[in-house]
């Protein structure tokens, strides 16, 4: 049974492998879109076939023996118990096979680790539970969170997941890179260990707090490539995907120009309607707060305080603003939030999630406290 199963699996893997790069749904490793990922795929297929071959040999012999050398067929047991020649042969042949595998593996390993002569560098910082991308050659810097549709769907029981495009594999702002350029990544983390993996690029690399790892890629084909964090990093480890968008050089240049300009724009601090404040506030909440305080603001018993009915939230505003900006030993500081974002999220947590203070906090109310920095 197992031999047949293995054979079947091997054959179907091979057949499916041909279309792996395009198919959404695969059984085999993806070929990917870089030279390294293709080399890794070839190595994978080589060793897979060697394993299938060994498996057929060993299991074939065993099942032949099981079928023919059974007592119920009247087979008499032979009494041999050693054969030095055979034993030497089956030590030497596997050793030779291993050497044969080690040579291409070493070549690919050297290639995979060669970050020299790169065209540009992007810093990837893993955070609980999103990625932070910083383009070191220009000033582009942004966070990449799980997109809102997935964020809501996975937190609400009974949500229709098929209606969510790329459920758990979509982000609000993807990492954008140019094709056919050697891009060097430097990876680190600001809290626990994460691991950055996009299967189509052929590798994953851990992001360790306090240390920097390097990796590189050079994508052959424009497209969207998805991946996930692959090192257990706490509660929402399963909810920090990676999306890489590879663009042709002119498109990429346009993107850089547009994004740099957007980043230079001052935030819009004009007053907003209540509904606007609440809906923008929810977006800010879903990006920054929901991982710990949960979708309903209930927190986690014994670990994370609730927002619902918290006097800190529903009480005076200035201390609350200060609290969000400065953080505590347990809660991270959110000084990265712009005044309008702070206003929106404060209005949201005071008037939703089971709270009903009934006020609108406008961005201009934040400014005096913010300038205390």
């Amino acid at each position: 049974m197992n031999k047949i199963k293995k054979l079947f699996a091997g054959v179907s893997l091979m057949a499916l492998g041909q279309e792996a790069a395009q198919a959404d749904y695969t059984l085999n490793l993806m070929k990917g879109v870089t030279k390294v990922s293709n080399d890794i795929y070839d190595l994978h297929m080589l060793i897979l076939w060697i394993c299938v071959f060994i498996g057929i040999g060993v299991f074939g012999t065993m099942f032949y023996s099981i079928y023919h050398h059974r007592k119920s067929k009247g087979h008499e047991a032979a009494q041999f118990h050693e054969n030095t020649t055979v034993e030497i042969i089956w030590t030497i042949i596997p050793t030779l096979i291993l050497i044969g595998m080690a040579i291409p593996a070493t070549k690919t390993m050297l290639e995979l680790a060669d970050v020299q002569k790169s065209d540009m560098t992007i810093q990837i910082t893993g955070k609980q539970w999103y990625w932070d991308y910083k383009y070191l050659d220009n000033d582009i810097h942004f966070e990449s969170h799980l997109d809102e549709a997935s964020e809501k769907a996975h937190r609400i029981k009974g949500a229709n997941l098929n209606a969510v495009a790329n459920y758990l594999l979509a982000v609000d702002k993807p990492l954008v890179i140019p094709v056919k350029k050697k891009i060097r990544f430097v990876l680190t983390s600001s809290d626990v260990i994460h691991s950055w993996w996009v299967p189509d690029l052929g590798w994953k690399k851990d992001a360790n707090p306090g240390f920097i790892n390097e990796a590189w890629t050079s994508v052959d084909k424009a497209g969207v490539y998805r991946g996930q964090c692959t090192e257990l990093c706490g509660r929402d480890h399963g909810f920090m995907p990676i999306v890489v968008v590879a663009l042709e050089q002119p498109d990429y240049d346009a993107w850089v120009k547009k994004t740099s300009e957007q980043q230079k724009q001052k935030p819009d601090l004009s007053d907003q309607h209540h509904e606007q404040l609440i809906s923008h506030g929810e977006s800010v909440y879903l990006k920054n707060c929901v991982g710990c305080h949960q979708i309903d603001g209930a927190g986690v018993a014994g670990l994370i305080p609730a927002i619902t009915a918290s006097p800190k939230v529903t009480g005076a505003i200035d201390p609350l603003i200060g609290f969000l900006q400065a953080g505590t030993s347990k809660m991270p500081a959110f000084s990265k939030l712009k005044d309008n974002e702070l206003a929106e999220v404060i209005t949201y947590i005071r008037n939703d999630l089971g709270n009903k203070v009934g006020d609108d906090i406008q961005p201009n109310k934040i400014t005096p406290v913010y300038e205390d920095d």
Binding site: K6, G210, G234, G302
Partner: protein
Amino acid sequence: MSAVIAEHDDHHADEHHDHGPAKGLLRWIITTNHKDIGTLYLLFALAMFFVGGSMAMVIRAELFEPGLQFVDPMFFNSMTTMHALVMVFGAVMPAFVGLANWQIPLMIGAKDMALPRMNNMSFWLLVAGVLLLASTLFMETGAPSAGWTFYPPLVLQPITVGTALPFAVFAVHLLGISSIMGAINIIATIFNMRAPSMKMMDMPLFVWTWLITAFLLIAVMPVFAGAVTMLLTDKFFHTSFFNAAGGGDPVLYQHIFWFFGHPEVYIMILPTFGVASTIIPVFARKPLFGYASMVWATGSIAFFSFIVWAHHMFTVGMPMAGELYFMYATMIIAVPTGVKVFNWTATMWKGAMTFETPMLFSIAFVVLFTMGGLTGLMMAIAPVDFQYHDTYFIVAHFHYTLVPASIFILMAAGYFWLPKWTGHMYNEKIGQLHFWLSAISVNILFFPQHFLGLAGMPRRIPDYAVQFADWNMISSIGGFIFGASQLLFLYIVIDTIKGGTGEKVTDEVWEDASKHSLEWTLPSPVPYHTWETPPMLVPTEHVLDSH
């Protein structure tokens, strides 16, 4: 091939007849008898197998469909963490210590373990350790949820570990002390208490593999205890072993952990090899092929287990020399492991095989362990491991080497020796049903996980993208069938202890088994005290090539 019945001195048997076990429950608490302690270990392990198994059922139920249905992600993480800890330290390791307690003295002609009181203590420390660990399940902030590997800084984060860390650390200390005492006892017994005529190279392979395993335990349990103690001081006493801000390195922990962790996985598989090498020759009615090479292969696998640890860490960011060294060293292990698989196959070759339940489980072990071994070889190739690492591919790999390997062999051992221990025959029909259900469902459970991993599903996630839905559902169905099938084993164990089929088993139980090992020369059931007078001659069927 000097099959020998020991001179069983009637006078001696009578003299000790009144030295039976203490009456009542107290017998099990104060016992220093290796058979009683072996029974305690085995029953405790069986209970923990079901506890750890129900955690696996929670995991598979949550993963049955995408979306979060039953549990909170934090509880999910606690389940993966506790499932591993309970299965490794509560089920598999104690089960093999239980087998060692029962079988090593019987197989080498010793009247008991060398240090009987320490034997009792190591069992009860195990219970204390597991209870301490299990107590975290009832804490408000939940059981440890940073994975059984306890990687910092995650495991030190207040929002991740709550109050569980010190309990888990002290549980590891107790389990470590228990294991080390067990290992010392086994080494002392094997070195000092063999029947006078039994040379080292006459010992049954189960004894050999356990001797080597015991050395692994002594070498690495203190390393693990040290690693978790460093976590404890980092957390509570402001040291910075693993904190970069204080000059430490979180990756240092991984090096220490896996220096323990890799030998640890061999601690769970080497005794498995020993049992397989004991069972297969009996049902093939042939001597074990290549006894000496089996011993050497076990020894070299144990040696290599100390120098390959960082293959668990290929993606952590190591210097190129490290990546290449650990890749080459890991690949070498395939050679001695291959020798073992070839030897088992050669043992079956031209035998006169019958297929009772212990043999069925042993054959399934050889086949499925080999599959787990082959995926292990794939992962040894460092650059390809950059794709496989921390995906369901490795989940499939290590479950193949643990469930249809270690667990199947423990089942095989149960069916093989229960008739000897109890004097009753188990129900062969139910045994075979248990085997076929387990062997089929375990593949439905774990084989699809190879596909999931290759297609890009990371491990330790409570929810997943919809393209992974089909294989997860199939895997869960396999899991439920596998879990339910194990209740048959529970039934068989209870039924056999109570009287089984009612058929009186012979001393040999299995045809010509007494040619292979000493225990089959004793009466069935085995008397409370055995080998008060050491046997003068030992069976050598299994060691022909050393003579």
